[in-house]
Symmetry: C2
DNA sequence: CACCCTACGTCTGTTTGACAGACTCAGGTG
DNA sequence: CACCTGAGTCTGTCAAACAGACGTAGGGTG
């Protein structure tokens, strides 16, 4: 406790820090929520999310710049060509983050009536949550059973 | 696609939105990273995280206000009484969020040398990640096998 | 006792970014 | 042609982050 091991390596290339450089910008996660829920067009997103048009525009540009979403042209009958925003593979990989956030918010920040959304397994309809699993296949339920360690890219302080 | 189901319910009590009201404040997740890594004292946190003292102070107050961390008095030999910040149960429940962020950042935002930190299973030492599991016990690997649906607290738009 | 040190913040002035709301622009409709 | 809609951009105001200085409480040192 006196000298935590984490102090011996640098935070300059911390994965959490790098992720938050993108996801920590105001509104980024809200935009992703909309897109994960199938809302892909600017105006619908703006109205449903409540973000200002300027912030939505900037966050979409940020997400495109980082390869998390991409613009796809489409054309409704009798309309001109427009663009919508879809997740890339990199963006889809954020799903565990979104589900983890929904789990926590649903458990700790809901009113007495329960959470406003749930995640379901499409095959069986059961509620779905995130869990920690190790590469040996153990499902870890006691949170104290995991710890962080430096990885191959770790740099000393 | 034309009318996404998500548009039929309100976002006012969305668990993701409520979670981000706290975690989306600049620096909140970085503070949590430090505390999860065992860095619990103000000065060490400030130096290791690189946050300004003012922001660190405000974010710690926010986390205490929401019951995610609490201040605990301690006394080193020959020192005066001080306080450190520790996770509450509610704070510890954020571990899947942190691991999900580390997973994604490590996979998509690391240099060629690999991620700077990894999470290990304390018992077997294997690398640990988050996964989606449903209440029927299925481990879900294809991300498209899950979808969101309104929960008991859902409100119409 | 006077002074210094350390941990833990708070204060100040500057700059960045969010907000509400108006404006722009392109293409299609009546 | 005048108007509508989707998708942004611009403007002025206000809140918050930044770097860096300052404050303060309690202990140790000469």
């Amino acid at each position: 406790m006196s000298t935590p091991a984490a102090l011996t390596w640098s935070t300059t290339n911390c994965p959490v820090g790098r992720a938050m450089d993108i996801l920590g910008e105001s509104g980024t996660v809200i935009v992703l929520r909309e897109i994960f829920n199938g809302v892909r067009r600017f105006d619908l997103m703006q109205r449903h999310s409540g973000l200002s048009r300027a912030v939505l525009s900037h966050r979409l540009a940020l997400l495109v710049e980082h390869g998390i979403v991409h613009r796809v042209a489409y054309r409704d009958p009798g309309e001109r060509e427009r663009h919508e925003y879809r997740l890339t593979t990199r963006g889809f990989d954020l799903q565990p983050v979104m589900v983890a956030l929904a789990d926590w918010g649903g458990k700790h920040l809901s009113g007495p009536e329960g959470p406003a959304v749930e995640v379901e397994h499409r095959d069986c309809g059961a509620r779905t949550h995130v869990a920690l699993v190790c590469e040996e296949g153990h499902v870890i339920d006691r949170l104290r059973d995991v710890r962080t360690r430096p990885g191959p890219g770790a740099m000393p302080t």
